[in-house]
Amino acid sequence: EPEVTQTPSHQVTQMGQEVILRCVPISNHLYFYWYRQILGQKVEFLVSFYNNEISEKSEIFDDQFSVERPDGSNFTLKIRSTKLEDSAMYFCASTPVVTYGYTFGSGTRLTVV
């Protein structure tokens, strides 16, 4: 069964450092997403991406965040200057069409120290 792959599974970074979380969506999917889950809280939407541009973003997704699809297979989330409160599980998801069949990856646990 096709999977969304995320790397690394766990990243520890110092406050103020830049991190890049990587995702390989399912190959024939066209819509890509990042979500996060802070420990003890709900899964929250960050951003959606289609046709090489952001289609929707939440208020969490401020200027410190950016997304990119640098080639035909990878989808990345960059946090420019990490804060302690960025510590969370970050999930990538993809869908073949909008609002249908979201498939999530296993997540990257980001720990900011």
């Binding site: 899964v43 939407f45 939440s58 599980m89 249908y100 979201y102 997540g107």
Partner: protein, 112 residues
Amino acid sequence: GESVGLHLPTLSVQEGDNSIINCAYSNSASDYFIWYKQESGKGPQFIIDIRSNMDKRQGQRVTVLLNKTVKHLSLQIAATQPGDSAVYFCAENIDNTDKLIFGTGTRLQVFP
């Protein structure tokens, strides 16, 4: 997954019994709903979905019921197995948006 530390409602069932997990959603404009299962250390795994023009949909051992009048969604799991133990989330999609809004989750524990 990030279920550790969550103060989740817990449903305990005996193996072989049926399970019913409930969810109240927030927005009357939501038109698409998904149930996800999350096991420890893994991402949300799609179980079943339903659109707002339906009130029931069945899959293999699972049934989702939608009551739009009271904004309620339920997941029924038939003949619950130990492998069904996980946290279950409902998620809603509001019409004309890309995002899913997740509920807080219910922990299902299956005992022999």
